[in-house]
């Protein structure tokens, strides 16, 4: 038994665990700075957010240990059940959920604690996706498999969008990297980037001009590669799709998107400037981060954060505190830790013998990456304001625990990688 124990702990990827703990502690300190209250100066005062976060971190560590002690088989076997429970919770939240900040995303648990099912949906969707794709003879490039995959991802997306929580919905898009890794045609990625690019350009410029540019560029490419007949047809189809997309952008923009989403996009693209109103958050957030300079203003000395110029600063805008009080140095450290973690996760995923673990690993890396990119991008005005937390750092029990779950299930699978699943 003792022999087993030793090898078990030996097999856990401690590098990841250390990064995880580092990020959690960075988050805790920055929440302390963000909502610092002179009446409750102690960092472990449970009436404050930082006190609660400390408790969440403790619970998360307990959770992590619990996961590590589980049987891997248990996780894989129950993946569909987890998924179903989450979907049911997502339906329930739409009926009895509490509305916080315009999103009906919370189920009240009593005692001031609430559960956010959409956080756990990421984990369970990942699990089920891994379970399905690792099945024999499933190829994502085949139409049937693609349909089922789309359904697995689509159902929670649809339910979360009903809340309506745009941020959490968009997170599922990151799973496209998982599918790509498992054989999805690269065209999906290319088309994805192309669509984002076209979307932005058609909002910024006259759609007709964009179409003209597409036509000219497309014609040139076709002319260069005129020997390849097949390529010409593909290009022509592609161009046609692009043009239709460009023409529909205005429609999507004006009719599908909600007004506040439109404004957020306008602000990021610089079409609108409203530093006192709709653009207040982002503007103050940029001021907070920008005023940090190289070394920052020092712990608990950030004026923007301390005097509550940035709303939501302990949750979605927690990176402001990092940027303001720790400066560029702190920003680089945090982003560096994240990048290191993500690359480490990819490495872990790739070393798995079982496809299930690999697919799941990619899912975890993609989801964490997407959160980091959108959250930090939003605080520095690169991405429209989308309310998703910064993993391990933002205040919130559901978020922290779901990321812990996500991460440590992978570590558990990884520690068992030599075994069979």
């Amino acid at each position: 038994m003792s022999n087993h124990q030793r090898s078990f702990f030996f097999n856990v990827d401690w590098v990841t665990v250390i990064i995880y703990l580092a990020l959690c502690i960075i988050g805790w300190f920055n929440i302390h700075a963000a909502v610092f209250d002179v009446r409750h100066p102690s960092i472990i005062d449970f009436s404050t957010n930082y006190g609660k976060q400390f408790m969440f971190i403790c619970i998360s560590i307990v959770l992590a240990i619990f996961i590590l002690l589980l049987e891997s088989r248990f996780i894989t076997a129950l993946a569909p059940a987890f998924y179903v429970v989450t979907v049911v919770l997502l339906v329930v939240v739409l009926i009895i959920g509490r509305n916080v900040g315009g999103n009906q995303a919370w189920i009240s648990l009593g005692g001031g604690f609430r559960l956010q099912p959409s956080e756990f949906a990421k984990f369970t969707t990942c699990l089920l996706l891994a379970r399905y794709l690792s099945g024999p003879n499933v190829r994502v490039s085949e139409i049937r498999a693609f349909g089922i995959v789309a359904a697995i991802i689509g159902i929670p997306m649809f339910l979360i969008l009903r809340q309506p929580d745009m941020g959490s919905t968009l997170v599922f898009i990151s799973l496209i990297f998982v599918l790509y890794r498992e054989g999805l045609s690269p065209y999906f990625l290319i088309i994805g980037f192309l669509m984002i690019a076209l979307f932005i350009t058609s909002i910024l410029y006259n759609p007709l001009t964009v179409i003209a540019v597409i036509a000219v560029l497309g014609s040139l490419i076709i002319w260069f590669f005129k020997r390849y007949k097949k390529f010409t047809y593909t290009m022509l189809t592609g161009m046609a799709i692009c043009i239709v997309f460009v023409l529909s952008v205005k429609f999507i923009y004006n009719n599908v998107l909600q007004p506040h989403q439109k404004v957020r996009i306008d602000i990021v693209l610089g079409i609108k400037s409203d530093p006192k109103g709709k653009g207040y958050n982002v503007n103050q957030s940029k001021i907070a981060i920008g005023s940090g300079k190289l070394w920052g203003k020092g712990y608990l000395h950030g004026t923007q954060t301390k005097y509550s110029f940035v709303p939501e600063q302990s949750t979605d805008f927690i990176f402001c505190t990092v940027g303001e009080e720790w400066g560029f140095a702190g920003s680089v450290t945090v982003i560096g830790l994240f990048l290191f973690l993500i690359l480490r996760l990819i490495m872990i995923a790739e070393r798995q013998r079982s496809p299930f673990s690999r697919i799941y690993g990619y899912g975890v890396a993609s989801i964490i990456f997407f959160h980091v990119m959108i959250n930090i991008g939003m605080t520095i005005g690169l991405v429209p304001v989308i309310g998703i937390p910064l993993p391990f750092i933002s205040y919130g029990g559901s978020s922290l625990m779901s990321f812990t779950l996500l991460l440590f299930v992978l570590l558990k699978l990884d520690s068992n990688r030599m075994g069979i699943v």
Binding site: F177, R181, G183, I289, E350, L382
Partner: protein, 663 residues
């Protein structure tokens, strides 16, 4: 399955590229673009300026002339207001419900979160009655402010007033003043602005996003405390000043009295005057407008801005220069026939009276024009007629040493230099070499182009009293609680006349009061030396001028009084001067042999008729009745009258003047 193994690099590559984009953006806003740091500082830091109390001004005996009176503004921050008994509150402030609603809406409109003034400038008494109850109304609170207050309402022109700073002052101050600040505009308030204003303090406070104060920036490291303005001790004696203002009531003119042994100005009356309290507070604008419209112009600072021909009061000076030059001795005689022939013109004595044989002593006492014209011509012609210009320049320099024709550097703004014509002036007027002693003989008796301010006349008396020197006259004798005295006020300014030459002149001046022209103004028991003067006024009655000092030995006070449009010096100026002198030396007025009483002079109304007054603000060398030209062109002289019209002349007045000329 692992056929897609290499795709890990694509995925990692995409992640790395996106992270690099984030880092590049962070690098830009955190390291390169400086504007965010400035925005952040603007967000939270507010500089609150702490206004120091302006320095008070005391009289020479420590009585307060100006002080700061506290008053209170009731402020309101609408969002902090809790439901309260509005009826009680309205009763407390003495306003009705509609007024309350109006102000409440205004405050709310200005800002629900910021304090704005609800009730302005409550006096300390009014505030005392509501002070305790104000705490029952959260959201309402008081802030103390200070206004200038003049307990005795005297010496308005000396004190001047303060007002909001003007654009040019802001520019000139290199950022010291901000719009809305107060600054001394006239008088001592202006001249000693840098002493009185004190030192402003700055507090750097931090404010949160709701604009609530959050404490000091950097623990107050960059804060400075306000330093109250320095106290000024003026040389004025408030009793004399008050008495002088009473005596000059309903008269146009001025009184300047100086202590000869120090140069301290004891009395500085400009009449008509005004209550300095009118230039403070809510009604200030209206009051100022009224006073600007006043034809007698109370803002005109007559002691230093009005210029009069000194008339006979100049004669002692003429004599002193001649004595020093050795042109005459006290015994030099002259036979007065009532007129003196100078070149092709006649100089007449007053009322064409013939004084018979006079010497210096009696010439001064009887104010013999002939004698002094003779003396003047002797001086100017001593090097021959051809040297007139050079000799005149020499004479002018000697007169100038007495402080005539140049500023005395009084510690007040807008001092006039008077007028002491230069040879160049006559060259331009009569062409070079085209003038002789006879051309300018009217200067001998203090007329012609010669103009002096009452301050210069009083200073002249100081010089005579001190027998040859004067201290720079000044209004502020000590600065601050340490009573700092400016060094320049301790220096004697010698006028270049040896003290022995003063005796005969002083004898003559004593006789002026003992038995001469000013005999009615003799003070029992005090020997006063004086000289009457009658300043020619082409537009109405002459200006009454009297200069004197007393007592003869160990002089304590030198004085110059001008009462405009009041005829001979002996009639109005001399009695007023004698009362001031006696009051100062003795503290009370004793019965006079001549039977004159201060009450009579206080109650007399010598305000000139407005229809003539417009042609006739103080000054005017102008057409001189005494000096009659046998043949001459009087229009040229009238022209010079226009040139010498002093600055306060209104446009209306100028128009009238033009009409006069046409006539």
């Amino acid at each position: 399955m692992n056929s897609f193994f290499e795709r890990r690099y694509v995925i990692a590559g995409i992640f790395i590229v996106i992270v690099l984009v984030l880092l590049a953006r962070l690098f830009y806003i955190q390291i390169i673009d400086p504007k965010y740091a400035i925005y952040a500082s603007n967000n939270v830091r507010r500089q609150i300026i702490q206004y120091p109390a302006r320095g008070p001004i005391l009289d020479r005996n420590g009585k307060v002339l100006v002080q700061n009176e506290p008053f209170y503004d009731i402020m309101v921050t609408p969002l902090e207001v809790k439901p309260f008994d509005t009826v009680e509150f309205c009763k407390m402030l003495g306003i009705d419900r509609d007024e309350f609603n109006r102000r409440w809406e205004k405050a709310w409109k200005y800002s629900p979160r910021l304090a704005s003034v609800f009730e302005k400038q409550l006096t300390a008494q009014a505030y005392a009655s509501i002070q305790e109850r104000l705490s029952e109304f959260p959201g309402f609170y008081s802030t103390p402010r200070y206004l200038r207050n003049y307990p005795d309402s005297v010496a308005a022109q000396f004190l001047g007033y303060i007002g909001e700073v003007r654009d040019k002052d802001i520019k000139r101050s290199n950022g010291y003043y901000h719009p809305g600040d107060f600054i001394g505009i006239t008088g001592v308030e202006r001249y000693y602005e840098h002493v009185l204003r004190g030192q402003r303090g700055v507090q750097n406070l931090l404010y949160d996003s709701k604009n609530r104060p959050q404490g000091k920036f950097a623990n107050g490291m960059f804060d400075t405390a306000a330093v109250a303005g320095e106290r000024l001790t003026s040389s004025l004696d408030i009793n004399i000043q008050k008495f002088g203002e009473q005596l000059m009531k309903n008269k146009v003119g001025s009184i300047v009295a100086i202590e000869p042994s120090t140069g301290e100005i004891l009395c500085y009356v400009s009449s008509p005057t005004y209550d300095p309290n009118l230039m403070v507070g809510r009604e200030r604008g209206n009051n100022a407008a009224k006073m600007y419209a006043d034809p007698y112009n109370p803002f005109f600072i007559r002691p230093i801005q009005a210029r009069y021909p000194p008339g006979s009061s100049f004669k002692p000076l003429s004599a002193l220069i001649a004595l020093q030059e050795g042109i005459i001795t006290p015994e030099t005689g002259y036979l007065c026939t009532g007129r003196y022939r100078s070149g092709n013109r006649w100089v007449y004595c007053n009322k064409h009276e013939a004084h018979g044989y006079v010497t210096l002593n009696s010439a001064v006492a009887q104010s013999c024009n002939g004698y002094f014209s003779m003396v003047f011509e002797k001086i100017i012609n001593r090097n021959g007629a051809k040297q007139t210009e050079a000799t005149f320049a020499d004479w002018r320099a000697k007169v100038n040493k007495f402080g005539l024709g140049s500023k005395l550097d009084l510690d007040m703004p807008s001092e006039s230099r008077g007028n002491l014509p230069t040879p160049l002036y006559y060259d331009n007027k009569y062409q070079k070499g085209g003038w002789r002693s006879s051309t300018v003989v009217s200067l001998a008796i203090g007329q012609g182009e010669l103009l002096a301010t009452p301050l210069q006349l009083a200073n002249l008396e100081c010089t005579i009293a001190n027998k040859g020197f004067f201290y720079k006259p000044h209004l502020i004798k000590a600065i601050g609680t340490k009573n700092v005295i400016k060094k320049e006020y301790l220096e004697r300014n010698y006028v270049g006349i040896d003290s022995q030459y003063f005796e005969p002149v002083i004898n003559g001046m004593q006789r002026v009061v003992e038995s001469g022209t000013a005999i009615r103004s003799k003070i029992p028991g005090i020997i006063m030396c004086g000289k009457t003067g009658t300043a020619q006024n082409p537009h109405g009655e002459d200006h009454s001028v009297f200069v004197a000092y007393a007592p003869r030995d160990n002089p304590k006070i030198a004085i110059a009084v001008v009462v405009e449009n009041s005829g001979e010096g002996a009639h109005w100026a001399a009695p007023i001067a004698s009362f001031i002198v006696e009051k100062y030396l003795r503290g009370s007025i004793s019965p006079r042999e001549s039977g004159i009483t201060p009450e009579y002079y206080e109650n007399a109304n010598r305000l000139p008729d407005l229809s003539t007054f417009f042609h006739n603000k103080p000054v005017k060398p102008a057409v001189i009745d005494t000096v009659k030209k046998s043949n001459g062109d009087s229009s040229a002289r009238k022209k010079s009258a226009v040139i010498n019209h002093h600055t306060s002349t209104s446009n209306k007045y100028l128009a009238a003047q033009t009409k006069t000329k046409k006539r």
